[in-house]
Amino acid sequence: MKRADWQNLGWGAALLVVAALLPLTGDGYLISLGVSIAMYTVLATSWALFSGPTHYISLATAAFFGIGTYVMGSGIEYINYWLLLPIAGLIGGVIAALVGLATLRLSGVYFVIFTLGLAEMTRQAVTWYQNQTGHKGTYVLTELTDPHIYWQLLALAALVFLLGWAIGRSKLGFALRIIGDDEDVARHVGINTALSKVALFVVSGATAAIVGAMIAPRYIYIEPATAFTPMLSFQVVIMALLGGTGRLWGPLVGVIPFTLLWEAISSSFLNQTTLLLGLSFLAIVYLLPGGFVGLYDRLRGRAKKRSAMA
């Protein structure tokens, strides 16, 4: 590893420690905002791990999130909470692999449509099963409170960042970048494009499932409508794009301002929330086409040019 890598790791660890101190403020409102930010950070970062380099837009986050929620909901009475987290990840990963194998050979647009339908399909499958078995409400009653959930999400975020960093340095990461630039070229130079894509899709699917499992104790009462809300998939995509998917830290700098903006809009403009949200989307797309990462790179490029001229 180069010196710069160690430096980045050090910065990351320091930021993590600072973030982990948030619950010590004892301010419940800040902590619940922190839970939102941590949750979307994990979801958007793991989403960008796959969609960033490959340019395949996945709208399946809600499907995996819901699967994780239901794994926790149906297992909590019988299995230890800490065991259920990896189980949720495993189930999410297996389903992502199956879906990936079936669809990732197709080109982008088919994939988007399929992932969009996946959340609804899984939701229908869950309700079908409940209906067949005469289900009586899913409850996740635990002792876990918001600070616990926040810390768990932070730990998961750290894992995702480490994994993303490792993938970026690996052959797999290199292969994915080539696929993103030109899939035909990638195939011709002997990259197993399908397998590489599936591998990354599994990572983001498994992560979203674990997040769902971690959030379940917060909702306590699990309903298909709240576990599989399609809104979640779109929010994750928007946040990741606002930040920019070109760099590992991109989604993070999208999640934080977006969550705060959403909070400000929904608390101050009760009846115009959707309208203002739409306007801010337009503004983001027009003013920040590459997200914050793109802006940062542009500014840096300009500064470099200026110093070169001088």
């Binding site: 409940q130 005469g134 409400g137 298909p224 009846n271």
Partner: protein
């Protein structure tokens, strides 16, 4: 700007600010969070929000709440949770910590109330739920001591409907053939899971049984199949859109049953508004004692203040929850929520729905389970300890 004008403007501004601050200090801040958008916005607009409006208007007209000898006006801060539990949790936190709310009203629906329970519990606000039907009352109130339940257990709601049918059969009014359908979603599945064994245990013959996905637009194949099975009674564990849809199809098919039951939203005034005289004899979940002077007075005030009638199930309970809170605050003379909560646990309350006395599980054990449209009103026909139940009538045609 001239100097004098500037002076005038600044002094007026300062005066307004001072007045505003003094005004805010005297007011009791009431926090309210419930759906204004999302799947449950329609239900909340009928059952939840109008009652808050009515209550606050009435209290402020009287000159506010009497807290320890001081009259204090109510000021509401509302948030939309978008039917999303994470937003409900965050909004409750925001109300408590950013807006310094003195009271926070329980949210809307089973799911959103349960998601908010840990926050209410930790902040120490009493959470008097009026739209949560669950079988986990004991577990929930055991873990969250400040959570109260007005609407009752979901099992009773389903079992009582079956009991109404059993009574009609015992009286020789209807036959033995039952067709039963449900919407394949949380509450619909839960009610069906209770009702199916109950129907079989009561010795009915289940001649047709099916479920349909949430949001099904075309319900005519279901009603055709129901008609084909030639039942004596029809039961649907349905949600608002399909309650209307199934009833409409039953009219089209001229389904000839003597007992016709649909679940959620049958008690909405809009149901009678939509079907008029054809609603006569339709049974549904909920009900109230429409003859009680307290309810009649409440319904009239509700209509005068909000321009809409209350529904015949949870509306009255929602208003009752506000009455309970009001009485607890005025009698204890404090906004100390621990004291208010203890008072609610220890006392019985006279409300528009009758006397409410919570048991050791913070549960109201006397509530309406089945109602029926009779003469333009949705009257309670089955209860778990309320006065004023009327005799059920037989459904006779759709004219």
């Amino acid at each position: 700007m001239k100097r004098r004008t500037f002076f005038k403007v600044t002094t007026t501004l300062a005066a307004t600010l001072v007045a505003g601050a003094a005004f805010a200090q005297d007011n009791i801040i009431v926090g309210a969070v419930a759906p204004k958008t999302g799947p449950l916005a329609g239900g909340a607009a009928v059952t939840h929000w109008p009652n808050i409006q009515l209550w606050v208007e009435e209290v402020n007209e009287r000159g506010g709440l009497n807290v320890g000898g001081e009259q204090r006006m109510l000021e509401v801060i509302e948030y939309d949770d978008q039917t999303n539990p994470a937003e409900t949790i965050k909004a409750v936190q925001r109300l408590a910590q950013q807006d310094n709310a003195d009271i926070i009203l329980a949210p809307y629906s089973t799911g959103l109330n349960i998601a908010a329970a840990p926050i209410f519990d930790r902040l120490g606000f009493p959470q008097i739920t009026s739209s949560a039907a669950t079988d986990q009352i004991g577990d929930l109130s055991g873990q969250f001591n400040d959570m109260f339940f007005l609407l009752g257990r979901s099992t009773d709601l389903a079992e009582d409907a079956v009991e109404v049918l059993t009574d009609l059969r015992e009286a020789g009014e209807i036959g033995n053939r039952v067709a039963m359908v449900n919407v394949a979603d949380a509450f619909g599945i839960e009610l069906m899971a209770v009702a199916k064994p109950a129907v079989e245990a009561a010795g009915f013959e289940l001649v047709y049984e099916t479920s349909y996905p949430l949001g099904t637009q075309d319900l005519s194949p279901i009603m055709k199949a129901v008609k084909g099975a030639d039942p004596d009674a029809f039961v649907a564990w349905s949600y608002p859109p399909d309650t209307f849809g199934l009833t409409e199809q039953a009219m089209i098919e001229e389904l000839d049953v003597k007992a016709f039951y649909t679940a959620v939203a049958t008690a909405f005034p809009a149901f009678a508004g939509r079907f008029g005289a054809a609603a006569e004899g339709v049974m549904g979940i909920g009900g109230v004692n429409t003859a009680s002077p307290e309810f009649m007075d409440y319904a009239a005030r509700h209509e005068a203040a909000t321009g809409a009638k209350p529904d015949y199930w949870a509306s009255g309970m929602m208003y009752a929850s506000l009455q309970i809170l009001e009485e607890a605050i005025e009698t204890t003379g404090t906004l100390d929520m621990a004291e208010v909560t203890q008072f609610i646990k220890d006392n019985a309350f006279e409300t528009v729905m009758g006397t409410i006395d919570f048991d050791e599980q913070n549960s109201n054990t006397a509530y309406w389970t089945v109602g029926q449209w009779q003469g333009g009103e949705f009257k309670g026909i089955k209860e778990t300890g309320r006065d004023g139940a009327v005799e059920p009538i037989l459904k006779s045609g759709w004219e």
